[in-house]
């Protein structure tokens, strides 16, 4: 069994290496950076039907699409939740296939209009989808949203695993609607028949007509009649409008019109709320906190600085509350609080921090997606009983922090902490396990240290930083983008 596993893994690893070599001609460029990839929603664009000479224009098109997407409410209030990247691959020909006009182009993903006889339906075949996967696996494995931009002025696009849009100025509307399905789990609000569609409600569709039981009831005014007449009088309010989920009767939607029904209009309040909750399904309100160890020991002559960091949405408030031994600390509303052993007194104590996004765009959050918390247990001892390595001045454990910025070009900073003097090595490896550079190999005193890696002499890609100190070791991933 062990031999079989090794053989299997050798094959897999060989494939990974071939993959790396095969795609080494393609490039990735970061269009928007708001934080590490693991702490942001990563949008990835791919070029289709752009010749090598047109790839500069592709970056312009991707940037324009990105701005249109981010300026669409509610995304506009959460722009800093996103990173964006553009993967550039050149096609032999410009444009895309139009079989109905007998136009065929030699393009990288082999995209085509006229899919299943529908002129505006743009798709890629299985081979093209495999190429997309290969590129994503090599260049941006932690993608969240993938959009293929087809260099063709004709209006067209489609949804699915990868959203596809042409460069026609109206085409991105289809993509944004499709992301309502694939990213936010929203349902269609139009009534065109779809025989056999599952009888399952989505956040914006329901069969329920009892006011108190309607899932978006908190958005409905008591004066709004239910079901709500489909007249202009009720065009701007949330109610219960019949016709949704591919049914003209028996199914209801929240608003007379919404982007999940008609392209070119805004998302309604209920769909916007669902989008925001989807952001928080991926990203928690507290990004990081310090100390990372929830158990802290200090003496009655020491203090400890507790801190949290969070993403701050534009236009809505983030409320931070601190509780010490269950009592709200009204004086502390920021991201840090200093507590002293003397103030706490000898014994066991708790410090609790709650962070909430208080946006008025969300009224229903039964799963507390917009709320996050962290709890520290602090043990305060008399001076003689305390190890001096704990507390304000000394870290309590070995720790390697994620480098920042990441992705980066050409230099990045790596920070680590040592609770006691240790022999430290900090080494950079590439994805093939080849040592690139030894940044540190020396005895160091306790404390927190930072080390800069200047990667200007190596090619772009994924690298690993291995940290060893005493018996502790850890590895972080670094993404160099050139």
């Amino acid at each position: 069994m062990i031999c079989k596993n090794i053989r299997t893994n050798c094959i897999a690893f060989s494939f990974a290496i071939c993959l790396h070599i095969a795609v080494s001609q393609e490039s990735i460029q970061q269009l928007l950076e708001n934080g590490p990839t693991e702490k942001r929603i990563n949008i990835v664009f791919l070029s289709e039907g752009y010749t090598a000479l047109q790839l500069t224009q592709y970056i312009v098109d991707a940037t324009n699409d990105l701005n249109s997407f981010l300026n669409t409410p509610p995304n506009s209030s959460y722009k800093n939740f996103f990173n964006a990247f553009a993967i550039s691959v050149a096609s032999t020909d410009s444009g895309s296939d139009h079989p109905s006009r007998n136009v065929f182009r030699n393009t990288y993903f082999n995209s085509t209009f006229d899919t299943y006889g529908i002129a505006r339906l743009v798709s890629i075949d299985g081979e093209g989808a495999n190429k997309v996967q290969t590129l994503l696996q090599s260049l941006m494995p932690d993608y969240d949203i993938v959009i293929i931009i087809v260099n063709d002025l004709e209006y067209g696009g489609s949804g699915g695993t990868f959203a596809i849009t042409s460069i026609n100025s109206s085409a991105l509307e289809t993509v944004v609607h499709e992301l309502g399905h694939s990213f936010a789990g929203l349902g269609d609000e139009y009534s065109s028949p779809y025989p056999g569609y599952p009888d399952t409600e989505e956040p914006n569709t329901t069969k329920e007509t009892v006011r108190e039981k309607i899932k978006w009831n908190s958005w409905i005014s008591n004066t709004t009649p239910l079901p709500t007449p489909k007249t202009s009088q009720y065009g701007s309010v949330v109610g219960l409008f019949e016709g949704a989920h591919y049914q003209s009767s028996g199914w209801f939607r929240p608003k007379l019109n919404c982007k999940m029904q008609t392209l070119g209009v805004k998302f309604c309040e209920v769909c916007s709320e669902t989008f925001i909750k989807s952001f928080y399904r991926l990203l928690r309100p507290i990004e990081s906190f310090s100390p990372v160890n929830p158990s802290i020991s200090i003496s009655d002559t020491q203090s400890v600085l507790l801190s949290i960091s969070n993403i701050k949405p534009a236009g809505s408030g983030i409320k931070t509350e601190w509780f010490i031994d269950g009592i709200k600390n009204n004086g502390e509303k920021g991201s840090t609080v200093s507590v002293s052993g003397n103030d706490l007194g000898i014994g066991q104590h708790t410090v609790y921090c709650i962070v909430r996004d208080t946006t008025p765009l969300v009224r229903n959050d039964p799963n507390n997606l917009l709320r996050d918390s962290v709890l520290w247990n602090i043990s305060v001892s008399g001076l003689a009983a305390v190890n001096n390595n704990h507390g304000h001045d000394f870290p309590s454990q070995y720790f390697l922090e994620q480098n920042y910025p990441n992705p980066f070009n050409p230099s990045t900073t790596i920070a680590f902490t040592l609770p006691s003097p240790s022999f430290v090595t900090l080494t950079i490896y590439d994805v093939l396990g080849k040592k690139i550079e030894t940044l540190i190999a020396q005895e160091m005193s306790s404390g927190r240290f930072t080390q800069t890696w200047n990667a200007s002499t190596v090619s772009g890609g994924i690298y690993f930083c291995e940290f060893r100190a005493g018996s502790y070791s850890n590895i972080i991933k670094l993404a160099l983008i050139k």
């Binding site: 693991e38 299943y116 529908i118 932690d142 489609s158 699915g160 289809t174 399952t200 392209l263 997606l369």
Partner: protein
């Protein structure tokens, strides 16, 4: 004279077979095939990265999968829309803004899922899920395949 790529390949394979491991922060890409309601594994690729895990994901009809350890412990679960059905939407050329849709059903389709790498992962079980009529939030699960995931783990 062995060129540099071959040297790296030989060195990498040697190191890998000698116990070089995937970093804990890795993503496993499973290329799968669904044919006649049965899911089989086509290819496995492991890449560095951190896969975000969705909080409070609701059950939905479609395909549900569980990543299990050798002793059956649940390590990860997720669901996805039925890959054998392509639901395609497009704007009605006669009525700007109005959407139309078309379903394409395929009996033989390949698709890819991502799972966070865990050294103890052993297999993935796939289920067809359907809501039980006249009940609320109850689903019926039918096993439609298993993929062996015995990748080399951390030592």
């Amino acid at each position: 004279m062995i060129d540099m790529n071959k040297r790296i390949l030989i060195l990498s394979l040697f190191l890998f077979c000698s116990g070089i491991v995937y970093p804990q922060d890795s993503i496993v890409f499973l290329q799968l095939r669904m044919k006649n309601e049965t899911v089989t594994l086509v290819k496995t690729t492991v890449r560095p990265g951190i896969l975000k895990q969705k909080h409070m994901e609701n059950d939905q009809p479609g395909i549900f999968f569980e990543v299990l350890s050798q002793n059956g412990s649940l390590l990860f679960k997720n669901n996805l829309k039925d890959p054998s059905i392509q639901h395609l939407e497009y704007e009605d050329p006669e009525n700007p803004g109005r959407l139309l849709s078309k379903d394409i059903r395929q009996n033989d389709v390949e698709f890819t899922i991502r799972i966070p790498y865990k050294w103890e992962m052993s297999r993935v079980e796939f289920y067809r899920t359907r809501f039980i009529p006249s009940t609320t939030n109850r689903i019926n699960k039918i096993n439609i395949g298993t993929a062996d995931l015995r990748l080399k783990g951390e030592r």
